[in-house]
């Protein structure tokens, strides 16, 4: 059945190709992450990047939470 459908249109190989490539890469990424290949300490270090210290100058007060108005 599958061969019959694909055989009738040479272009119909492409969706299959796309699906195969997708599955390969997706499975690779998932395996890469879930098998714990990445160094957890390194990942935690990257995850903390938004919290790098910075200096606020020329301001009245430090920005942040609002007034109970």
């Amino acid at each position: 059945m599958f061969r019959e459908i694909v055989g009738k249109g040479d272009l119909l190989n492409w969706p299959v190709v796309g699906l195969l490539i997708f599955m390969m890469i997706f499975a690779g990424v998932v395996a890469f992450m879930l098998l714990g290949l990445r160094d957890k300490r390194k990942l935690d270090e990257i995850a903390a990047l938004p919290f790098a210290p910075e200096t606020v100058e020329d301001n009245h007060t430090e920005g942040g939470a609002g007034n109970e108005r």
């Binding site: 055989g7 249109g9 040479d10 272009l11 119909l12 190989n13 492409w14 969706p15 299959v16 190709v17 796309g18 699906l19 195969l20 490539i21 997708f22 390969m24 890469i25 997706f26 690779g28 990424v29 998932v30 890469f32 992450m33 879930l34 290949l37 990445r38 160094d39 390194k42 990942l43 935690d44 270090e45 990257i46 995850a47 903390a48 990047l49 938004p50 919290f51 790098a52 210290p53 910075e54 200096t55 606020v56 100058e57 020329d58 301001n59 009245h60 007060t61 430090e62 920005g63 942040g64 939470a65 609002g66 007034n67 109970e68 108005r69």
Partner: protein, 800 residues
Amino acid sequence: MSVTNTQMKTVIYDDNIVRAFSIVTIVWGVIAFLVGVLIASQLSFWQANFGLEWLSYGRLRQLHTNAAIFAFVGNGMFAGIYYSTQRLLKTRMASDLLSKINFWGYQLIILAAAISFPMGWTQGKEYAELIWPIDLLVVVVWVIFAVNFFWTLARRNERNLYVALWFYIATIVTIAVLYVVNNLSLPTSLVHSYPIFGGVQDAIVQWWYGHNAVAFFLTTPPLGLMYYFLVKAADRPVYSYRLSIVHFWSLIFLYIWAGPHHLLYTSLPNWAQTLGMIFSIMLWAPSWGGMLNGLLTLRGAWDKLRTDPVIKFFVVAVTFYGMATFEGPLLAIKSVNALGHYTDWIIGHVHSGTLGWNSFMTFGILYWLIPRLYGTKLYSLKMANAHFWIGTVGILLYVTSMWIGGVSQGLFWRALGPDGFLKYPDFIEGLSNSRAMYQTRLAGGSLFLLGIVLMIFNLIRTARQGKPATVSVEVPVANRNRDGEGALALLTSAPMMFMVAIVVLGIIFGCAGPVISPLVLALFIVVVVAVIISYGLHKKRWAHWYGLVERHALVFTIMSLLAILIGGAVEIVPTLVASNRIPLEITDEMVAENPAMAESARWMQKPYSPLELAGRDLYITEGCYSCHSQMIRPFRHEVLRYGDYSRLEESLLDHPFQWGSKRTGLDLARVGGKYDNLWHYLHFMDPRSTSPASNMPAYSHFKTKTLDPAVYTGRMRALGKLGTPYSDEDFALAEQRFLSQGKLIVDYLAGNDVNVETNSQMVAMIAYMQRLGRGPQPLGAPGDGSALDAGAANTATASR
């Protein structure tokens, strides 16, 4: 930038650009939502069109969608990206000048759009309506933004690229590819062009673009912003950085395939529809992975939900992201789509995304950002909380009314009586039933706008009580990343070679015949096994390799580009190639040679006459596709209501295609010949005169405005270059035929005591309406309109 000692230097961030984008986000947001409320009023009360052509629903709907997406969300995106990128890379933007050109160029684009849509200057493709000169400006501004961004990446003082930056990179490269391909067109004047693709090709390219505009403009940038601003507001790192990596790669790889779900049960080849549906369903996983990652970031910080309006906005935004990305794949299932497509359910769906996800995300960012940009505290927490609740109630009223209205419409349209015929043959009855839902939607939208007014007041007071803050960071001088270093080694490393081998083998497999295919497949499996063995033997090297990828922006960008190109190419290339194999003109000789072509020949579209082409261009100008489809799906209830289902061959010459995506009014694919010319005249002048419950705007200006027949010779020549089989005789006689065909309609109307000019817009529109679903219509005798029976225009049998 000054060096404080031999190891450290001070980097001052450019927050002026962030302040500028934040301000215009609010300004354009008000305009976008105000126009949204106006067009919601028009759907409830037709009088709100004010009888003015530039305020009519079809034109303003384009302004609303473009303003909401590109002006409001777009400026908010730029504000967030400029703020977070500098901080994540610990460097100032590479060029203040490029930042300013990006800002002013983008505002110029929006201003041009705000003028051009009411004027009726449009390309007639949803979310890609901007005319070609503005498209060029978009490309220039986007390239400038990209140069500035990647230049900043190259100058960064932080080696690692945080996940938010990955989403920004994917946005920049994908939007560039989508925008350029979908807007390829052949200009005929400064404000008009024809897309190079036609019919089904245009349809697949358009929705590949349309859906991925949602994906890569309304989803990936806010997700990147979520990974920065949510964690900042929660004051804790993202729940799982591992999950964010899987989220990113799976999302960008899957999203690009999902476009065809906008074309289910249309004339698009079935394999493409099925592929679109399958990948849409697969999108559930990464979307919900991202949503859960966002919500779980608040673990241990849920108490902030009671007190911090920023967290409230973010939590509801992420929740709506989850709801919208659940509903999207649900609607992409063919059997569900059969009910929901063309109804207001889709409108509810997209607004749960844009109002709930995009807008609330933007509001949360603004409430977090403005106090920090002005070095002060938020003026009023209570007002922000009030905004949150008013906005939330507004969204819920909006989406629930559209869900109810939409499902009701779907059920109403498909209902068959015991005799197997339509239970409700009068379409307008369904519209009348939706009126209460439309009014509820109007109330919801108005509440949402009211909330924004509160926000504006609050943020203005906040800014006024502070002053622009200057923020800096100390960075080690020697830590500057050299992005180019090792890039070549990385590109030629074993994992990259394996990846290239897999893709190349896949392509060979796609091209190979039945003999070679099994061999290629076997080789494919060998490579996969080799990958697994290599991975097992060199785990640390592979880990190091991916770490390098994350640090090399160039390699990372190339991989992202490949990820999105694969899906797009696999779907679009076969459609383009397959459609090109269907000749745009089938002669009797060709049928004699190949009898299988007889069926295609039967349905093959013939070129429009000059007058019909003028009418079609007007149809696009007025944005009629906002409410009318031209695609009859192969369902009994649609065939009974509208006529035989639409074939692929019937719209191959349509540049752009006008299949539509919404039916506030009837499908028009086969409206030709259903009503006489007088009916159409009366309907355009006052739709209530023929359909008392209609909410369609009046188009009385069709009677008074005239067209220059000479223009359409040039437009026919342009279409001829794109493949429409016009002959030299067609070009030579174009002006005469324009007038002689018009004369037939004029004479018919005159016989009913109605006088219109032969070159009026009214005559062209009637000619186009009468042509739809039928073959060529009588053109009259050049110079003598009385040569043919005037009534023939209404009764001629189709000759396909």
